[in-house]
């Protein structure tokens, strides 16, 4: 009678089961990690119609260094849930620009239908504050039929 395993039969002391007693600890660790790293929005979104663009890119900057300026269809400017008169925009941008060490990105969230003079006025205010990085917030446009040259 041939020996099972060629005579190397030895009782293994290690269990062949994955230890499940620490599963809860792992799960809770993950849970706590996600809870801690989640940043809640402190600012409410304004209702705007987003312009669409094919070349839309992700902003490659920390959340703290992104400032949102909302421009509504009627030309109202909202920053941090507050209606801001156009001439005061630069006073709000300037301290953030210095605070961020000249890295501040301004996400300009203007309604698709707003007349351009309001967008231009906001840009002038941003320049007055010294900030130079502006991102025109857009939605990614998916074009099915795109002619290429």
């Amino acid at each position: 009678m041939a020996l099972k395993g060629g005579g190397f039969e030895r009782k293994s002391k290690a269990s062949d089961q994955i230890p499940s007693s620490s599963l809860a600890d792992i799960a809770f660790l993950l849970l706590i990690f996600f809870m801690v790293t989640t940043v809640f929005r402190t600012e409410q979104d304004r209702q705007i119609e987003w312009p669409e663009a094919v070349a839309t890119q992700q902003i490659d900057e920390k959340r703290d260094n992104i400032m949102y300026i909302w421009v509504e269809r009627n030309g109202d400017v909202w920053i941090n849930d507050r209606l801001v008169p156009m001439e005061n925009v630069s006073d709000l941008v300037a301290p953030r620009w210095v605070e961020s060490g000249r890295r501040l990105r301004i996400s300009l969230r203007a309604d698709a239908q707003v007349p351009y003079r309001f967008v231009d006025a906001v840009q002038q205010e941003i320049r007055e504050a010294g900030a130079i990085y502006v991102v025109f917030a857009t939605d990614l446009e998916r074009r099915m039929m795109r002619e290429r040259r």
Binding site: E52, A53, A55, I59, Y116, I126, I132, Y133, V134, E141
Partner: protein, 140 residues
């Protein structure tokens, strides 16, 4: 004594076998409900103050955005203006920049033109790989 000695059948410990299930349930809940902010758009760098430099007219492609969304394209100092739709600008830019690599796009938008027409033109220019864009407003 007979009554007091009765063995209690109910365990006095909280069952920990389902603890992992509860934790994973919470974990999945948080994963699903987390909304990632959409921080995206078309980036542009505004000129700093005292950084305005004169550019020879031949290196400028004037792109004039009208209130109705049509786009007039005028090359440098020439006076003739061709009318395009915003989507054609990508091709126009590719053709023009092939002839003159130093070309700068001077996008001048009418004050009453909708923001999205400017975005369409900016989108076309960025899709065509242009990074020398100047945004201005027409006097009006």
């Amino acid at each position: 004594m007979a009554i007091l000695n009765k063995k209690q059948k109910v365990s006095d410990e909280i069952p920990s076998a389902s603890m992992a299930d509860i934790a994973f349930l919470l974990l999945i809940f948080f994963l699903v409900t987390t909304v990632f902010p959409k921080d995206r758009g078309l980036p542009i760098v505004l000129p700093e103050d005292q950084q305005e430099i004169e550019i020879p007219q031949k290196n400028i492609l004037h792109i004039l955005i009208n209130p109705d969304g049509t786009v007039g394209v005028r090359r440098g100092d020439s006076q003739d203006e061709a009318i395009y739709s915003p989507r054609d600008i990508e091709g126009v830019w590719r053709l023009e920049v092939a002839q003159n690599p130093n070309l700068i796009a001077g996008v001048r938008t009418h004050p009453e033109a909708a923001h999205r027409y400017m975005i369409q033109v900016l989108d076309a220019l960025q899709t065509a790989g242009s990074d020398r864009i100047s945004l201005q407003m027409q006097d009006g």
